[in-house]
Symmetry: C2
Subunit: 567 residues, 2 copies
């Protein structure tokens, strides 16, 4: 509670009289080892060297672009090779989102041209719906602008930062504008834009805007020139393209790596299904996830005329009956104007909401990859002897629906003496950095894989011939940073992840046990087979049999062995 | 390079004729296991379900407050107990910065009042210079506003987000405004403000603004009510207050934990020095750290009339001679107007800057804690048998000066069978979260402590009775997130950290060796001492001595032992 100034004054005076003995006591008990400087007898401090007025002169606004330009490692532009990967990722995320929103089977082209040792031109082209001319500058030349932030719906992008930030990084490192060609349909003009972001204003400056001929009937092409680095390995663009193709089997991706002309290699990752992921619904917030301050804001902004219809219309899963119960419990009249409800009333409503029984949020806002496609993806990725996959049912964290999928491949070509390979995905986008900080990794390391017949150093990933592919789909993925590299460990998410992993773990354990039993049988059988002739010879001698009878015994014993130890 | 639209068209057409065979080849070589869906004979796609026009309707601005309200885990408000700690931290950071900027010995008071199980009121009060009335709403009711972002100078805050975000979190969770009382001097009025942040506009809404009586002659008091959690342990407010007091020995901190009235405990952490840290200078950017895009921006914004004086005035360490050499190498006339320089010219200047020999940045912008005070802090924190500390000389990453300090305490009360304790600091602020993601941790785990006589599991923190206190001071600390919990692992920073750790490591190794030698001697001596009487009895028998002679032998042998094995 905000202390009233008068009270504050009283308290302050009270303190000045009582604080001293208390201080002395506390200092003795808690910080006894620390020697205080003797208080100077003239405790009066001199006038400050700088006054508040001096300091006020330095106060000013910081534009969000300036902020992220200076802190560009927050967006994934830490170093040249990561900057290159992040640019590709942001472009592909947008391309796939655009296609899916328009229900178009995505056909994406990623080109990386190397211009000098450290300079690259990245081009991402899609067959999406295109962008209307007026929107182009804002979408590409302004941070925090977009369509995905203010809604609750599953998509790859959600912040309205990514592609503009990539353009800003290109501008910072090369001074070159971002180039966009877009066309909204075969009968429409194709527009060619070149623009830069004015970081001080966080606003686009258009350098060129003209109609051009383009033999692509519909789609968008983005080109960014930047200082970058191209490298292989786990964090490479190549690995990214392969992984995103795995999680988006409905997309065809053509990838032209640097120096493709030399090697003549344009890699095509064809689609393995023609089914576009089910279109996800946009949902309203669930009342259980709403905070008091947000509820107050909603009451101020709502178009509803009374609190009852506000609760019913602006939230999901609030029926007429539920809203009635909530308002009764809160002792607020149902026909109260939302904008007139005071803080106390809203707080009572907020408390009543928490206590009310409300159905879980609808889950048609989530589009899983699906067990069949995950297994198909795993099989295309590795030659394993066993694969299994699980799509869990959707559930909720902080009011946001989410869903976990786990795919597991075991044995075969996978190396057995190393830590397992873990592919992490969020809304079908591979996460390649910050594995250690991710909820997915935490869930894997905190699962007891030893009970599933795997080796596992304490607190670490298991060791063995296994590939894990873990996917979280949500209307709002809680990333640990703007660069979207790891998922924040909400308890509800960790719990679901562990349940999915355990389900797969039990199945692989069954397989491993069967495999071991098999190997044991083989060993025993080989042992017995080896001694059958000796047994026969022994019997021959004891029973005085002829050679034919002896051979028959060998044959029969072998038969018996095969029947009894059928595998 | 941005492809010209005409060229783009030509290329696209060329692709459509040649792409097919290439695609087939690539698909075979790279993704042979993946079966493509047969192309439907009627490959023409239907019209998109949603057009670009439909999609454009959803596009809109996202205010930075909305962004951080939704992503508040980025700012350290992940959960109730962390939110409480973050609020205290942001308040104390600001209080200490304000005092030091005005050269006032800080006297900070932190109060936590528990209002209900999950609701707390946090108050932070300082004896700083106060805030002029007009600035109060913006400083506390707007994200990305402040004096510390646009300058290169060491301070705790640097983003202009912290305290407004804490106020926003309070508003979100309790609907209550942030309360500020501030006074710029004994003869000035004290102003009482209550304000909230309008997240949609990222702007303050003042609810109350009045002159009040306040018996504090100068300073600022901030009160925030929030949903929080109070807990103990490594991440507690108690641990934070103790650690910040360690790194700020010139500050007196009075801490009133929840339920202080019941326990009667107000903890005072008295100052151990009256010396305010040396006032740090604000510096200009060093040319070696500047990026091409930034240089272009500086040329557009400069007040200098020609490029030569721009280089000399707007950068540090560029003499008249250096700027002449740079411009000569870049083949740009020294009297060229900066705003008229084209991209090519600026790029040539940028390249010439990289090639030029330029003095390292000035380092008087960094204020170390100092070896003496670090050791004093360690001694006040633990009863160790050995302490050592190092302040490294300032050096530079990405043009930003920084400095590393390491303090090490060993033995004594410290537990020997556990992982060592690591206190991380950045600009005198303790870092309590994300230890695993921090450059400091990386530097410690990648140091070979076994060569310094310590146990160390591979890739982990060493094990033993040791406390490490590591401090990085810089004009711009590269945090891995807005919540300022961990330091990004720039190679230059890791290198300096390791050098500091190694220096301390060598010293503690000397101590441990000496200690072991000592223990060995003790063991041997005990062994010999035990047998001296037997030797004497033996000699007595062989030489036929009397008891007095035998006792004399014991005494003399003991003397000899003590002389020869003097320790």
């Amino acid at each position: 509670m905000a202390s009233k100034p008068q009270a504050g004054r009283k308290k302050a005076r009270a303190r000045s009289t009582t604080a001293k003995p208390k201080q002395a006591k506390a200092a003795k008990s808690r910080v006894s080892k620390r020697k205080a400087v003797a208080k100077a007898p003239t405790a009066k401090q001199p006038e400050p060297a700088r006054t508040a007025k001096d300091l006020a002169k330095g106060q000013r606004d910081i534009s969000v672009s300036e902020f992220f330009a200076k802190n560009r490692h927050l967006l994934g532009f830490d170093n040249p090779s990561k900057a290159l990967l992040t640019t590709v990722k942001e472009g592909v995320d947008n391309a796939l989102d655009a296609c899916e929103e328009a229900s178009i089977l995505p056909d994406i082209r990623v080109e990386i041209r190397q211009l000098s040792e450290t300079r690259f031109c990245i081009a991402i082209q899609d067959n999406g719906p295109g962008i209307v001319r007026a929107q182009v500058p804002k979408i590409f030349g302004r941070l925090l602008y977009g369509s995905k932030f203010h809604r609750l719906r599953q998509s790859r992008g959600q912040q309205g930062i990514g592609i503009s930030a990539a353009g800003m990084y290109g501008l910072l490192t090369t001074g070159k504008p971002i180039v966009i060609v877009t066309r909204t349909g075969p009968k429409k003009d194709a527009h060619h834009f070149e623009l830069v972001i004015d970081t001080k204003l966080n606003a686009p400056k258009v350098k060129r805007d003209e109609v051009v001929k383009w033999d692509v009937p519909r789609g968008t092409r983005v080109e960014i020139e930047l200082e970058g680095g191209y490298r292989g390995g786990q964090h490479s663009v190549d690995a990214y393209i392969r992984q995103i193709s795995l999680a988006n089997p409905h997309a065809q991706i053509t990838y032209v790596p640097p120096k493709a002309e030399e090697h003549g290699a344009e890699h095509v990752f064809p689609r393995v299904t023609k089914v576009i992921p089910v279109e996800t619904a946009e949902i309203k917030p669930h009342p259980h996830g709403v905070e008091l301050g947000v509820l107050m804001q909603m009451f101020r902004d709502t178009k509803a005329r009374n609190v009852r219809s506000c609760l019913q219309n602006d939230f999901s899963r609030v029926s007429s009956r539920t809203s009635g119960q909530i308002l009764e419990a809160a002792k607020v009249a149902p026909n109260r104007r939302p904008s007139e409800a005071g803080r106390d009333e809203v707080e009572r409503i907020h408390n009543a909401i928490q206590a009310a029984k409300i159905m879980a949020p609808p889950t048609d806002c989530i589009a899983p990859i699906g067990e069949t496609l995950i297994e198909a993806a795993l099989k295309s990725e590795v030659s394993a002897e066993f694969t299994v996959s699980i799509s869990r049912r959707p559930t909720v964290y902080r009011g946001n629906p989410f869903l976990i999928e786990v795919g597991l491949a075991y044995g075969g070509d996978l190396p057995g003496d190393q830590t397992i390979t873990l592919y992490r995905y969020a809304n079908r986008v591979p996460l390649q950095y910050q594995q250690g900080a991710c909820a997915i990794t935490k869930a894997v390391t905190s699962t007891d894989w030893r009970s599933y017949q795997m080796q596992q150093p304490r607190g670490a990933l298991p060791v063995g011939p296994m590939l894990l592919m873990v996917h979280i789909a949500s209307v709002w993925v809680p990333f640990t940073s703007e660069s979207k590299e790891a998922i924040a460990p909400y308890p509800e998410i960790i719990k679901e992840l562990r349940l999915g992993l355990q389900e797969c773990g039990r199945k692989v354990a069954g397989h491993i046990r069967k495999q071991r039993r098999h190997a044991d049988e083989e060993k025993k059988r080989a042992y017995i087979v080896k001694y059958i002739p000796q047994v026969a010879v022994g019997l021959q001698e004891i029973l005085d049999l002829n050679e034919k009878q002896r051979d028959k015994i060998v044959t029969e014993l072998t038969h018996v062995l095969e029947r009894s130890r059928k595998m």
